[in-house]
Every structure is written in structure tokens, then in C-alpha cells.
């Protein structure tokens, strides 16, 4: 079998998305931690366009962008599927990862660096997005993928864990149980899935790291 390598950085949620997919499908891989402040020649060789991580390298061929990587993994290793078979259901699942690009995770920078009106606007946009997910994304399902986690849960998983740390850091609570009961329950359920539970960055380490570095993902 061709070799699989993953170049990522701790504690980026985009790297973790790929780790979760690889582990859920039991795909052996070599993980290479990339130091973003000192990008290796290997990384530049593989991803000259964006110069970002994660990069999946399969049999020497690189694939970039976590959403693209997730779909590639799904197609090459169909066991423990992350996408449904039906084209319509697949289309619905694929829209959610797009959501995550403008997720509260992107907004946190605004929470941290602004105040007053700008911060209020960032908060309002995040809340609207969460409302849409609560009502239209999850509906009555336990996970976005149904009874088991799927590609949308993985893509949105960053919100489950990272958002909690960020909420602590900036003192802005977004996913409150009484306002978003389904999403709140989803964050708990998601983190209870064994593969996810075993593969989450340590909470306090992340808090310290974000406090110190203030890096956006």
C-alpha cells in the first residue's frame, strides 16, 4: 500500500479534521509536525500555492485544503463511510464544511481585538450562523451525519472543542445550552465518540498556547 503522510500543526482544527478521518477509517499514516514559523523546504515543495497546512501526501502525491483532503480520503478508503450514498444527501453534507470557513472560529480574532460595535457585529454574525446550524443543519439528528458522525461533523468539529477554549479566552459565550440546545448536545456527543475523544488537543495546553501565541488557524 502506498505510504500516507500528514503534515500538520498542533493545535490547528484543520489538521485534526484529517487526523480524525484517517483514524476513523483506520488508515496508517506518518504525522509530521510543521513549525509554521519556520516552514520546511518539504512543505514549500508540496504546497507552493498556499504555503499552508494540512497537506496529505499519498504515494508521494500531495493534496491540499482540509475539505479537499477529507473527500479524497473518503474516495480512496471507502470503509467506515463519512458521506452518504445518495447524491442529494451528499450535497447537503458537503455544504456544511463551507459553513465552517466563516465559522465562529474565524470570528474569534474579532472578539479578541475589537470592542464595542465591531465585536457586537462579529458576535451577531456568529450567532446567526449557529442558529442556522441548530435549526437546519442538525434538525432532530444526533449528528450532522445522522446516527454516526460524518464529514460535516468532522468539518464542524473545530467548533466543538476549539470554540470552548476561545469562549474561555475572550469571555464571550456563544453555544449556550438554553439558546442552542441541539448544538450544545452535539458538542458533548461529538467529543464522546471514542476516536474523537482520544484525538483532541489538551484543553489547558491549548488555552496557554492561544493566550501566548494568539494565532488564528
Amino acid at each position: 500500500m502506498a505510504e500516507v503522510k500528514l503534515k500538520g500543526t498542533w493545535p490547528s482544527p484543520f489538521s485534526y479534521r484529517v487526523i480524525w478521518a484517517l483514524k476513523l477509517k483506520d488508515i496508517p499514516y506518518e504525522y509530521i509536525e510543521e513549525d509554521l514559523s519556520n516552514k520546511s523546504p518539504m512543505l514549500l515543495q508540496y504546497n507552493p500555492v498556499h504555503k499552508m497546512i494540512p497537506v496529505l501526501v499519498h504515494g508521494g502525491k500531495p493534496i491540499f485544503e482540509s475539505a479537499v483532503i477529507l473527500q479524497y480520503i473518503e474516495e480512496v478508503w471507502p470503509q467506515n463511510p463519512l458521506l452518504p450514498n445518495d447524491p442529494y444527501e451528499r450535497a447537503v453534507a458537503r455544504v456544511d464544511p463551507h459553513f465552517s470557513r466563516t465559522s465562529p472560529l474565524d470570528r474569534w480574532r474579532l472578539f479578541r481585538t475589537t470592542a464595542g460595535e465591531e465585536q457586537e457585529k462579529a458576535k451577531k454574525e456568529s450567532l446567526e450562523m449557529l442558529r442556522a446550524l441548530e435549526e437546519h443543519g442538525l434538525g432532530d439528528k444526533k449528528f450532522f451525519g445522522g446516527d454516526k458522525i460524518g464529514i460535516a461533523d468532522i468539518a464542524f468539529g473545530g467548533v466543538a472543542h476549539w470554540l470552548e477554549v476561545i469562549e474561555d479566552l475572550v469571555g464571550v459565550k456563544l453555544i449556550e445550552a438554553h439558546i442552542f440546545p441541539r448544538l450544545h448536545a452535539w458538542t458533548k456527543n461529538f467529543k464522546r465518540v471514542p476516536i474523537i475523544k482520544e484525538n483532541l488537543p489538551d484543553y489547558s495546553e491549548m488555552l496557554l498556547y492561544l493566550k501566548r501565541e494568539g494565532i488564528t488557524f
Binding site: 483532503i69 458537503r94 455544504v95
Partner: protein
Amino acid sequence: MAEEVKLFGTWASPFSRRIEVALKLKGVQFEYIEENLSNKSPALLKYNPVHKKIPVLVHNGKPVAESLVILEYIDETWKHNPILPTDPYEKAMARFWAKYMDDKLWPAATKVVVSKGEEQKAVIEEIQEQLKTLESELKEKKFFGGESLGFVDIAANIIVFLLVAQEALGLMEILTEEKFPVLHEWYQRLVDDAVFKECVPPRERHLGFFKARFGSSTASK
């Protein structure tokens, strides 16, 4: 049961025009509904309650949103004349470059029409860097999709909009034959393609649109 396909779009949006290309390439009959974005129809709000955006494809009553997601749905539902490659790696590359159009080229294109002077020059340079990148990806292929139009070529329709805006606003030529010999030729093939050319906004109206919205006597040459 008869197949019912509706497309909600606007005449000047590259995103809804992409869907027209895909549907026509596959010979799918559809009803097109022109939306007025400042007065969205109840139907659009019903089919895309979350983002309230076009394009939305409604297939037998079920709505699909986000242009690239819709393109994949179309390819998976009507399998003849495929627009995505079958090889997973080639498919991943196609998805990456299509996203590149939306994540890099589109924001730069929207910036170029509203910026002026030095800032505008800088954005144009940025766009030309992106076009250089695209040219090295195209290499010797006829289209990004190979012998015929594919996913990336369809997503690249943003370039049409960019160049019409360039002309309308009297900007310096962006996609010159001199700087981009390969990409320039590809572009000619793209806009000459029988299906693609049916799915671009009518030229005069499109020029007028950019002039009215972004034109100003202080635009740089």
C-alpha cells in the same frame, strides 16, 4: 414521475451561470428563475432559508445550494458527459483549483472594481500572480478538464467577469497574450466553446452593468 429541475439565479452572477453551463453540457432541461436580489422571492427564501443566496438548484422539490456543491451534485446525478475526473487524485486537484477560483481569484476581482489608484494597481498585480499560478497548472492541456470543459474550466468563468469589468472600467489589460501565452489561448477556447458562450451575460448589458455600478472618472488606466 417527470423530472423537475429549477435554477434560481441572476443574469450577472458567475455562480449561477456556472450551473447553467453544467446543466446544458449534460442536456438537462430546466426552468430558470431570475431573482431580484433586493426583493427576493418567497420561493428562494423557502429553498435557501439559511443564506438566502443564489444559485439554488431545486431537483424534484429538493434544494441544493453553493455553486461548487451544486456542480458535484449535477455530475453525480446525470452521469453522462462528466465534468469531474474519475481518478480520486485528479478529482482532488480539480476540487482544489475550483476552490482557488472562489477563495483567491473572486475576492481579488471584487476588490479590483472598488479600489482606485495605487491600491487598484496592487490588486491587479496580485491577480496576475494568480493567473501565473493557473497557467502553470494548465500546462499543455486544452482545458483544465483535458480535451473538453471540466469542473475547473466552469469555475474559471470568474475570469470572464473580471475581463468584462476591466474593459468597462478602462483598466489596463490583465490577461495579456505576452504575459500569459498559454492561459490566453485557453481563454479564447473557453469563450468560444459552444455551450460556455451561451452562458455568459450579454456583453453590452454586462459592460453597462459594471460602468453603472463601479465606473468613475478616477479609475486608473
